[in-house]
């Protein structure tokens, strides 16, 4: 990133002996971080365009792929440094990936530590149609429904950009809903609960009441938890809605209109019948967007799609749902 940082920040990095901002969510050698065959012969899986073409795009006949750069920008405590790094990451993505591979699109990394700076970052890149989404993490300083974040959603909506919430944490709060976990396994499993909490927050604070056309995409969230969570939240909404009178529709309806989830990881038992029923419980074929989660190790070979889905649902997951969600993907088509 040094070439993309200003003189000031380059000097700061050197003077202060800063190291890489690699997040502990994906420890370098942990199995989740990279599939063995995608890791082979390289320092960092997914770090070369040729490998990405050969491993992530060609084998899946992918016509468009959206990149999410998970660099520890949002975990910094300095707002200024976070903004500088967000700009550098986005510039790096534009110059070294989007300029060189027409199938790639990207999400705008924003410094959520400071909402004004995050909005500035969106405004800076909005004219570049290859940026198709705004990227935030599943756990930050405050829950994403809070009013302080709404200018980010207003800016995203102004430019036709969905909000993508990706697994990961700033680690500014304990990393699970029960406190600091001991293991990477608990941390990663707990990401699903982080998404549940964020969905609760976005709905209850009224984000979708204020911005009824805002699209939120949950990235690497798992999806089999969604239906039971919406049953619970909708039941409580019936009992407690006087507390949040701005939420006029059932949370389960809001989710079907405004929230999408990426496919991988498929957190389901080996029994495919149970998976099919879990998908059926979600109550809509519009919710899932195909993803490989490359280079994370979620499946082997090219078996990213669960077996036995209907042709209609398969087409929705592979193509239609993404085109409906991302206005900017419709401009070029698959």
């Amino acid at each position: 990133l040094l070439p993309y940082l200003s003189d000031h920040w380059r000097a700061q990095m050197v003077q202060r002996g800063m190291r890489e901002l690699d997040t502990i969510a994906y420890p370098a050698n942990a199995p989740i971080t990279a599939r063995p065959d995608w890791r082979a012969g390289t320092d960092k899986a997914g770090s070369s365009l040729d490998r990405v073409r050969a491993e992530a795009l060609d084998p899946f006949s992918t016509s468009i792929a959206i990149c999410h750069c998970l660099y520890g920008v949002q975990a910094l405590h300095s707002e200024d440094m976070a903004a500088a790094f967000a700009r550098a990451v986005n510039q790096w993505i534009a110059s070294e990936w989007l300029d060189r591979e027409p199938r790639l699109r990207a999400s705008i990394v924003v410094p959520t530590q400071n909402v004004e700076m995050a909005v500035d970052e969106i405004e800076h890149w909005a004219a570049d149609r290859r940026f198709v989404q705004v990227l935030v993490l599943a756990s930050g300083d405050a829950l994403l429904g809070k009013r302080q974040y709404w200018p980010i959603y207003a800016a995203a909506l102004r430019h036709g950009l969905p909000i993508g919430i990706h697994a990961g944490s700033a680690y500014h709060n304990p990393n699970t809903a029960a406190g600091w976990a001991s293991t990477v396994t608990e941390d990663y499993v707990g990401q699903a609960q982080s998404f549940q909490s964020q969905l609760t927050s976005l709905i209850c604070e009224g984000v979708f009441s204020k911005f009824p056309t805002l699209q939120v995409v949950l990235l690497e969230s798992g999806f089999t938890w969604l239906a039971p969570h919406m049953w619970r939240l909708t039941k409580y909404w019936r009992g407690l809605r006087p507390e949040i009178p701005w939420v006029q529709r059932a949370p389960s309806e809001i989710v079907r209109d405004n929230v999408r989830l990426t496919l991988q990881p498929v957190d389901a038992p080996p029994d495919t019948d149970q998976l099919h029923r879990m998908i059926d419980h979600m109550g809509s074929d519009r919710l899932l967007l195909f993803s490989t989660d490359y280079p994370h190790w979620q499946f082997d070979g090219t078996d990213a799609m669960p077996a036995g889905l209907s042709p209609d649902l398969t087409r929705r997951i592979l193509i239609d749902n993404a085109l409906e969600t991302y206005a900017r993907l419709r401009e070029t088509g698959p």
Binding site: G145, S169, G222, Y236, P265
Partner: protein, 371 residues
Amino acid sequence: MNVDVLNRGPVAAVSNTRLAVADCDIHPVIRSLRESLYPYLLSRWRHHLETYGMSQRVAYQDGAPPYPKGTPNAARRDSWPPGGAPGTDLDFMRAQHLDANNVAFAVCNPLMPSGQGFANPQLSAAMCHATNEWQKYALIARERRLRASVVVPYEDTAASVAEIELRAGDPDFAQVLLLSRTAEPLGQPRYRPIFEAAVRAGLPVAIHAFGYGGSPITSGGWPSYYIEEMAGHSQNSQALLSSLVIEGVFESLPSLRVIIVEAGFAWLPALCARLDKHWLRMRDETPELRRLPSEYIREQVWLTTQPMEEPETHEHLHDIIDWIGWDRLLFASDYPHWDFDDPATALPLRLTEEQRQKFFLDNARALYGMA
């Protein structure tokens, strides 16, 4: 539905037509500290309570909730007995709930102010002990359908173990009670002796949603609303159950039985699938585990049913219970709280007689060893 709380008539008469139920989560409440707990507290603690009050890791005196409840005392509007607060009048509870709903036995889970989660560990231990004495003499001695929980000051492991050992072998006590919002995830080593003591005493460990351990109920900070706190209990319980499994509590204590109380249950199949998948991928991180996470859960975890999730398509709930196992859910009403589940209407599914019997009564009988 509107309930006229001021001019209501006598509570419903006993219904002999109703299936007998075991109610695995009811909340009797002390009439007052002075009347109910002072007899079991040293003068030092009586003085402390009157001078310094109770600090429960929340901002307000005597533990007033930072997320104000949906109703006064979080109670059903019709559960206020004449001249007292909900849950404080045993005769009223008998008539309104135990008799009316044909409750064969009910497990008492005393909540605030039971002493659990107090910032002052000595006061916490003294209050928990007093709460147990109160349950034994004010409740169980007077109503044999009730069973008590061993309320323990879980942030003080040694005091918790001592309280469990004191109650071991006393048939008035059916389980050890923890709250879910502990200072650290419950699988961590500091809490292990509590689970070991429960196993030695032959008691299951019930982990009831609520409490305040000091950290937010989400991994992304504090929510704004009571509805978020209520919905959040299920994320908190998913995380603590993950901790118990991954830290090896079930592996090291194969006869431990854990009950997740008032956190819902429909989330369990998805959590099991996620635990299995990602534990298998990273199993070299916790090589002491010898079985799939879902296998420990299938054999050693029970869940109470209230507040029951309500899918738009009722049959989806049937799928969920099929996946969890019909022998693992324990009916609970949460009396006298506002989100009470009525046994007559709470499970709107077509069931076999065996399924209904297990769900409402037999699973609890087997778990608690009740005739």
